[in-house]
């Protein structure tokens, strides 16, 4: 009971605090520059001044926390990456040099490339297919909810689920892992999926695809609904079959959303390490950059120099995506 009250109080305090800032600061601004003064000129001058300041009232909390939580760490990481593991000796680019000759790093880069190709493509593709198909049936919303469900599961939970799918028992005993059970039922030999070099990467990717498809589906299905119905009807009259309509009319029209979904998932792929950590921890040749970074940063006493250097590489990898996004944002801004 006491705990409950405490929790409730804390929650209320936090939320009320945030509201109070916005409300209070704006009230203050309106007090300093009152709009309802009798003098017409003064009033409009006040209004203009308030309008100059107000955007910053709106933006300050966001900018502050972005600065503190994202910008500052980027720079401190950059600094770390130039120091050795103790964090006291400046080593220049030694960490980067080390990286290039490290076989595990090369393996991670290779695997990461696989991930970057497969996961966004597969998630988007499945998301698109499901979004397109579920739009045509009465139980589409139920289907969508079920497919979205993995999104609600934490990466750790997902790993538990998939460990269960990939579970291996020797051929003599009954398989309790779904995949092996199917293989055995089809007359095959049970396999240790997560220990099959190269292919195991794909078994790990499946997990992320499984999770992210729901995300892609939600965005794409919204986009599909945004397509003007008439263009589709026009294509029906033009004699296009459903497949042609999908490929030639619908997909080109939602290309923008597809790109956004693709980007978001790509960024996620670069950042996600939980799945690899929980399933293999990079063993059996499944290492990826994010997990490698985590490894160097926190494992065995921590080597911030190398960890940060890998982090910087991850950042650099997303620079092209970032530039693309900034371009898009700019272009869109010009339109208003």
């Amino acid at each position: 009971m006491e705990q409950l009250l405490f929790a409730l109080l804390t929650i209320v305090l936090g939320v009320v605090g945030a509201i109070a800032y916005f409300y209070g600061s704006n009230l203050l601004l309106d007090r300093i520059f009152p709009a309802n003064v009798p003098d017409h000129a003064r009033a409009s001058q006040n209004l203009r001044r308030a309008a100059l300041i107000r955007p910053w009232l709106f933006l300050t909390p966001a900018l502050l926390s972005l600065g503190i939580y994202l910008v500052y760490p980027v720079f401190s990481s950059l600094a770390y990456s130039l120091f050795d593991r103790s964090g006291t000796h400046f080593v220049g680019l030694a960490n980067y040099r080390w990286m290039f000759f490290d076989s595990e790093f090369r393996e991670s880069i290779f695997n990461n490339m696989l991930w970057l190709i497969v996961v966004p493509a597969a998630s988007t593709l499945f998301g698109l297919i499901i979004a397109a198909l579920t739009d045509r049936i009465w139980w589409g919303n139920i289907a969508k909810s079920l497919i979205f469900m993995p999104m609600a599961i934490s990466f750790v939970g997902a790993s538990v689920i998939w460990k269960f799918v990939y579970d291996y028992r020797d051929a003599a005993s009954e398989q309790i892992g779904l995949l092996n059970a199917i293989v055995v039922a089809l007359g095959g030999e049970p396999q240790i999926w997560i220990a099959m070099p190269f292919w195991n990467n794909f078994f790990l990717m499946v997990i992320l695809v499984w999770i992210q498809t729901g995300f892609a589906m939600v965005l794409l299905s919204a986009a599909l609904r945004g397509i003007p119905e008439e263009t589709i009807e026009a294509a029906v009259i033009d004699g296009a079959n459903p497949w042609q309509i999908f490929m030639k009319i619908k997909v080109p029209q939602i290309w923008g959303t597809i790109a956004v979904v693709w980007t978001t998932i790509t960024i996620l792929v670069l950042k996600v390490f939980d799945i690899v950590l929980a399933m293999t921890n990079g063993q059996w040749d499944t290492q990826v950059l994010a997990n490698l970074m985590f490894d160097w940063m926190f494992r065995g006493g921590g080597d911030f120099g190398r960890g940060a250097a890998i982090a910087i590489v991850i950042m650099v990898l997303v620079v092209p995506i970032m530039i693309w996004n900034i371009r898009n944002a700019r272009r869109e801004m010009e339109g208003r």
């Binding site: 263009t231 026009a234 029906v236």
Partner: protein
């Protein structure tokens, strides 16, 4: 030869009945316009003809074949949508060629037909542009061109001009009229709620109301001899003035008694049994004129005057309290608010409707 026959066509969306049995025969090459108030089912009917909506019951016959279950692309129709419905990611050329590509026509044939349609619609300079780089009128022409390329037996238009501005509307309307002339064998069905479009384009107009056909006929017949109150009110702008009345004496001429007691004689025959019954008396604003001699239809006080240059609209508080009478006078006429005026009309241009709204035929 009949191009298209609708036999007791009905349509419901679930419980909601939208069309209640439409019967209509359209000849090949005819230009038919559907008009009617918003929501009366014009688009629905058109879309059923196109095959975009299922027919709930009834038979839809094109060229002698029942096409109820024939997919749109096999019906030999083409459709132009109100919102153009161009494929935004394709050039004008590709937009027009799309249907033929799907049908697997040869490259040369496609090129020939696109080029000829573009020529006809003056679109040749724009063939490589994307729709977003075109003006509204050009887009609508592309949509028409796309339909032409299909070389259809039946051409369907759903309010094709309603997104265009006044000047463009006139120009495109004329283009459609020309198109109709140049394709004499093609049946055209056109939905609009623009009076002028309907009157100028149609061979026959079909007036729909609440899912039923009110009247079918050539434009002038509808204007001059509306079958009922609904059509009378609907065709013509400003709308016909309608005044409630009672039939004082039947026969030809008929004497009417208006609400304020005024008596009125009209050259329309009424059956003797209708004496004492309620009727509606109608006169078009443009048929009214300021009475020059002693004979006048009614007297009223000028309420609002709108001078349009070409004509002057005068709203007059007449014999019926709530409903002002609209009078359309040619040219600029100097009338003032509050002035009391008398109005007369050519007796042959008066209209009379019975209790149920049907016209007493002249």
């Amino acid at each position: 030869m009949t191009g298209l026959v609708l036999k007791d066509i009905r349509k419901s969306y679930g419980q909601v009945k939208v069309l209640h049995g439409i019967n209509l025969t359209i000849d090949q090459g005819e230009f038919i316009v559907f008009v009617g108030p918003s929501g009366c089912g014009k688009s629905t009917l058109l879309r059923m003809i196109a095959g975009l909506e299922d027919v709930t019951s009834g038979e839809l016959i094109i060229d002698g074949h029942v096409v109820n279950n024939v997919p749109p692309s096999k019906r030999g129709i083409a459709m132009v949508f109100q919102s153009y419905a161009l494929y935004p990611h394709m050039t004008v050329y590709d937009n027009m060629a799309f249907g033929m590509r799907i049908a697997g026509e040869s490259k040369e044939e496609i090129d020939r037909r696109v080029k000829s349609a573009a020529d006809m619609l003056q679109l040749t300079p724009y063939l490589d542009r994307l729709p977003k780089a075109l003006s509204g009128g050009q887009r609508q022409r592309v949509a028409i061109g796309r339909a032409i390329c299909r070389d259809p037996k039946v051409f369907l238009f759903d309010e094709p001009l309603s997104n265009l501005d006044a000047a463009l509307r006139v120009a495109t309307r004329i283009q459609i009229a020309k198109l109709n002339e140049s394709m004499p064998d093609t049946t055209m069905i056109y939905v609009t709620h623009d009076q002028v479009e309907a009157m100028t384009l149609a061979d026959r107009i079909v007036v729909l109301s609440a899912g039923k056909i009110e009247q079918v006929g050539p434009p002038l017949e509808l204007y001059e001899r509306p079958a009922n109150l609904f059509v009378a009110r609907f065709i013509g702008s400003p709308a016909m003035n309608i005044m409630p009345a009672t039939i004082a004496s039947a026969g030809n001429p008929t004497t009417l008694k208006l609400m304020d007691g005024t008596s009125l004689r009209v050259d329309i025959e009424t059956p003797a049994g209708d004496v004492g019954k309620a009727a509606s008396f109608g006169v078009r604003p443009e048929d009214l004129a300021i009475a020059t001699d002693d004979e006048f239809l009614f007297e009223g006080t000028v309420n609002i005057v709108e001078a349009l240059g070409e004509v002057t609209l005068v709203y007059v508080d007449g014999p019926v309290e709530e409903e002002p009478i609209t009078v359309k006078l040619q040219g600029t006429v100097d009338v003032k608010r509050g002035e009391k005026l008398r109005f007369s009309a050519d007796r042959s241009r008066l209209h009379l409707f019975d209790e149920t709204g049907h016209t007493y035929r002249k």
